[in-house]
């Protein structure tokens, strides 16, 4: 185990110490710890380069239907004791929450594939800088500028409770994002993995540089409804938004497009599965309550099959807990954390070749809900948008604003890529997704810009 991680024994000590000093009917301790290291570049130079070692203990203490929650990053004996006493005090004075369902019992956790790679946890600033320097040199040679980052993180998560829960998992991620910018156009490439050795910086550089060259001199194209081919970078955004609506809490609050529609066709022939055991993702077999995460089919060939739950939403709604809790919070209690949009059979080139007239979108930017229930999202295209004519990329076009229902857009799915691209969400690995490229029959661009 890397010296940058605290290790299972130390996390167990912290949890046990916290539970020991908590005075209530039940208590739960969660420790998230790790090292976040990121080398950021822009204008063909490394301009920000950071490393931080972080750890926090979050403690929930329950007295009847009263719950107190404390988090601290002071993991000394005194710090843990203070946190436990403070959480216990809050749990005594806070008003009752009659819909609190109690802390979940211990349940067996099935083994998941490993997500920890020692050499990634041990990566050094020089390891990252050398890789980045090669990409920057290539951009300079082509008279382009590159911006982005290469990161390596090693994190570990442990959950214990007085009800017998114990769960521990270490993981690593390595990620590179690169935008390459020319005088009149830019392009994007990105890779994520649990292993730095599997990050192909050269391939990322080639993809971004060659697409950037092709993206120079974008032309005007009237906004409107077009057939589109979305690169996985753009599809990831769709998966993220729809995934956030495929939860028990979203259904309970009437915000989900599948509310009242389980068993019904809600979109096109696409399949979304949350698979905590997906070895090609960043697998973890338990959630932030230490409950076993189940593989859940959310949408199967367009038919809504289910949503994911945490213990409290399951208790309130009478559903079974699927083990998808996020760290306790009142706004989003669960989330599909290993979402996969099932692969199809087409290469990217085949998807493009089938389009008579349409738009190729590399990625979306600054996307936000306009209307969550209808899954209407607005955002911009960015870093490589092209007109497709007669199955060929004709020329780059200026960026569009879109305002589009995402599940409606998937309703007109015409083709699905065969290769899945992994995306990791943030430095603490809360939510990974694997998605392919998609060809969609109709996507509405509602505005444009001058570049």
């Amino acid at each position: 185990m890397s010296g940058r991680l605290l290790g299972e024994m130390e996390l167990r000590r912290v949890c046990e110490e916290a539970l020991q000093h908590a005075t209530g009917d039940a208590a739960e301790a969660m420790v998230a710890a790790g090292s976040v290291e990121l080398t950021r570049f822009a204008n063909n130079t490394i301009h920000q380069n950071v490393a931080s070692r972080e750890a926090s203990l979050q403690l929930r203490v329950v007295v009847g239907k009263r719950v107190g929650m404390i988090s601290t990053n002071d993991l000394s004996q005194d710090g843990i004791t203070r946190a436990a006493q403070s959480a216990s005090e809050v749990a005594r004075i806070v008003p009752e929450n009659p819909v609190f369902g109690g802390l979940p019992d211990a349940r067996p956790i099935a083994p998941a594939p490993g997500a920890y790679v020692e050499s990634t946890a041990e990566a050094t600033p020089i390891d990252r800088a050398r890789r980045v320097e090669g990409l920057l040199r290539r951009a300079r040679e082509r008279k382009l500028t590159a911006a982005g980052y290469l990161s390596t993180t090693g994190t570990e998560l442990a959950i214990a409770s007085t009800k017998g829960v114990w769960a521990y998992s270490p993981s690593t991620t390595a990620a590179i994002e690169a935008v390459v910018i020319g005088g009149a156009g830019s392009a994007w490439a990105e890779q994520n993995a649990t292993d730095l050795a599997r990050i192909d910086v050269d391939a990322v550089g080639t993809e971004a540089i060659e697409k950037c060259v092709a993206a120079q001199g974008p032309r005007d194209l009237e906004p409107g409804t077009y057939e589109v081919v979305l690169e996985p970078y753009a599809v990831n955004d769709i998966a993220q938004f729809l995934g956030s609506s495929l939860t028990g809490q979203a259904v309970e609050e009437g915000r989900s497009f599948v509310a009242g529609k389980i068993g019904q066709k809600v979109t096109g022939d696409v399949t979304f599965v949350d698979d905590p055991f997906d070895a090609a993702s960043i697998p973890r077999a338990f959630d932030y309550e230490g409950q076993p995460s189940q593989r859940v089919t959310l949408i199967e060939n367009g038919v809504a099959r289910g949503v994911v739950y945490d213990s409290q939403t399951a208790f309130r709604t009478g559903a079974a807990n699927t083990g998808h809790a996020l760290p306790p919070n009142p706004f989003a209690s669960s989330m599909p954390q290993h979402l996969r949009l099932a692969a199809g059979t087409n290469t990217r080139e085949q998807l493009i070749r089938e389009v008579r007239r349409g738009v190729l979108v590399t990625r979306f930017h600054y996307t936000r809900w306009v209307h969550q229930l209808r899954t209407i999202v607005t955002g911009m295209t960015r870093d490589g948008t092209f007109l497709i004519e007669k199955g060929e990329i004709a020329h780059p076009v200026k960026n569009f604003r879109f305002t589009q229902s995402y599940h409606d857009a998937l309703g007109a799915t015409l083709g699905i890529g065969k290769d899945l691209h992994l995306f990791a969400a943030g430095e603490w690995n809360i939510g990974a997704r694997r998605v392919p490229a998609l060809r969609l029959g109709a996507f509405t661009f509602t505005g444009s810009t001058q570049y």
Partner: protein, 487 residues
């Protein structure tokens, strides 16, 4: 004084960094206590207290930047982290194209403390939670709601900054925020109303008096009734151009997105290109570009009382300052750091802040505000408008990576006919191009309508940071605006 032994540790960090070859070093110790409370659907859903403490060391070595941070505060860890920061800087230098240069700042010494009337942590816990329960209950007197939430956040942060150039400043900040939201669900329809602002809560550097001034209980039934009424309200007109009057609970976010971010000099110089993007306000436009109409005056002010961007010194030890971003419609000023200011031959106006001890300071909005005009009250402005739409309180927001093409949705709108508010409108949106939009402004309400809003959720940087920024705004009127994209 919140810091004792940490000052010695800070000096040790600087000594270690210099010994290892750093030509510049600074260190920040940050201790923060936050309490969040949420009442949902009549019950206390969450009471969470969060304490965090740690330090970060930032250095220049071999002409390049390095930064390292840790939560373990003792001498061996100080030595390790300071040495690591230098090692990281040397790695950065592998790809450098020139040495980092910093604009000068004189060594700073002193203390700063937010002025508050009521220490929020000293207000009895039962009173704080009791207010949320009462406000939530007041919302739930209205039939037809699906979800209600009432929340507050109280915050205290102590920060020590020491640099190798001789600065040593210690600051204490208090923040207090609160908010209500009521959600109603109908046939393929979901409506939300919130108060005082959207996004969960509004927040200021203030004590508990900030919460008390909003009278949450009295306003709760009103927003609840509006949420239910919106389910069957008339849809906003689709894809038309009209006059729009925008309330300050929406307009402050427009200021944040379309003025605050594009005047960040790091964006203009390309160092945020991959993530947040760049800026249409390029350096050749400084001092001459027509950003908006003569009515538009945008101020950068880190001394504004209550603003979330108010302080004594930024995280580079540069003193708080005030100045103009836009004066009578012309773009005249950036938010700058010492490094970016040097690139323009200027001195920093003190806008570098980190989200905590574990992150690097970045250029962040301090308080970027649309200054009041002379159009009187909101009532006066509506009375002066013959035909248009009044939109209030943000629901959605999006803007492109140069900060030109934006689209906002608001929670609620009303027709304006003959100088009076008329029919309620559902799902209002408006869209435009930043300088055209601000150029179409022909009236800004007077000071009596001006309010300092807080944005406690501004994302920037990689690794991600959440910043707290302040924005004053008064309602304003815009002509020939494109509205309506959601039927």
């Amino acid at each position: 004084m919140a810091f004792g032994v940490e000052r010695d540790l800070a000096e040790r960090a600087l000594d270690t960094a210099k010994t290892r070859g750093a030509t510049y070093a600074d260190t920040r110790f940050v201790r923060r206590a936050v309490e969040d409370a949420v009442v949902k659907n009549g019950h206390v859903d969450t009471i969470e207290r969060r304490d965090t403490f740690g330090f970060g060391v930032r250095v220049i070595a071999d002409g390049a930047w390095g930064f390292a941070a840790s939560q373990v505060v003792n001498a061996p860890e100080i030595d390790r982290v300071a040495a690591l920061a230098v090692e990281i800087a040397r790695a950065s230098a592998l790809a450098k194209q020139g040495d980092i240069a910093l604009a000068p700042v004189a060594p700073q010494h002193g203390t700063y403390r937010t002025k508050i009337e009521k220490d929020p942590f000293a207000v009895p816990f039962e009173d704080r939670v009791g207010l949320l329960l009462a406000a939530d209950a007041a919302m739930r007197t209205v039939k037809g709601l699906r979800t209600t939430r009432a929340n507050y956040e109280i915050w205290r942060e102590d920060k020590l900054f020491v640099s190798s150039e001789g600065s040593d400043v210690e600051q204490t900040f208090f923040e207090t925020g609160c908010g209500l939201s009521a959600e109603a669900v109908g046939d393929n329809e979901l409506q939300i109303r919130s108060y005082p602002a959207a996004g969960g809560r509004t927040q200021n550097q203030a004590g508990w008096e900030f919460v008390e001034r909003f009278d949450l209980v009295a306003n709760a039934p009103r927003i609840a009734e509006e949420a239910v009424a919106l389910l069957t309200a008339k849809p906003c007109p689709q894809d038309v151009r009209t006059t729009v009057v925008i309330g300050s609970a929406q307009l402050f976010l427009q200021v944040h997105e379309s003025c605050g971010h594009p005047i960040e000099l790091d964006r203009a110089l390309g160092t945020e290109a991959a993530f947040a993007g760049t800026s249409f306000l390029t350096t050749d436009r400084l001092g001459s570009f027509r950003y908006g109409s003569d009515q538009i005056n945008m101020r950068i002010d880190s001394t504004s009382p209550g603003g979330l961007g108010t302080f004594g010194w930024d995280d580079e030890g540069v003193p708080a300052s005030e100045g103009w971003a836009v004066k009578n419609g012309t773009f005249v000023g950036y938010l700058m750091s010492r490094e970016t200011a040097a690139a323009l031959g200027k001195t920093s106006n003190g806008t570098m802040r980190a989200s905590g001890w574990a992150r690097l300071p970045l250029i962040r909005m301090t308080n970027v505000s649309l200054m009041p005009g002379s159009a009187g009250t909101l009532q006066d402005l509506i009375a002066d408008t013959d035909d248009g739409i009044f939109m209030e309180t943000n629901r959605s927001w999006s803007i492109d990576d140069k900060r030109l093409n934006f689209q906002f949705g608001t929670q609620i709108g009303w027709e304006i006919k003959g100088g009076k508010l008329g029919t309620m409108l559902r799902n209002p949106t408006y869209t435009g191009i930043t300088p055209e939009f601000w150029g179409s402004c022909d009236a800004v309400c007077s000071e009596s309508e001006w309010h300092m809003w807080g944005t406690p959720n501004c994302g920037k940087g990689q690794p991600g940071q959440v910043g707290h920024t302040g924005h004053g705004a008064a309602p304003a009127r815009f002509r020939n605006v494109r509205v309506g994209v959601v039927k």
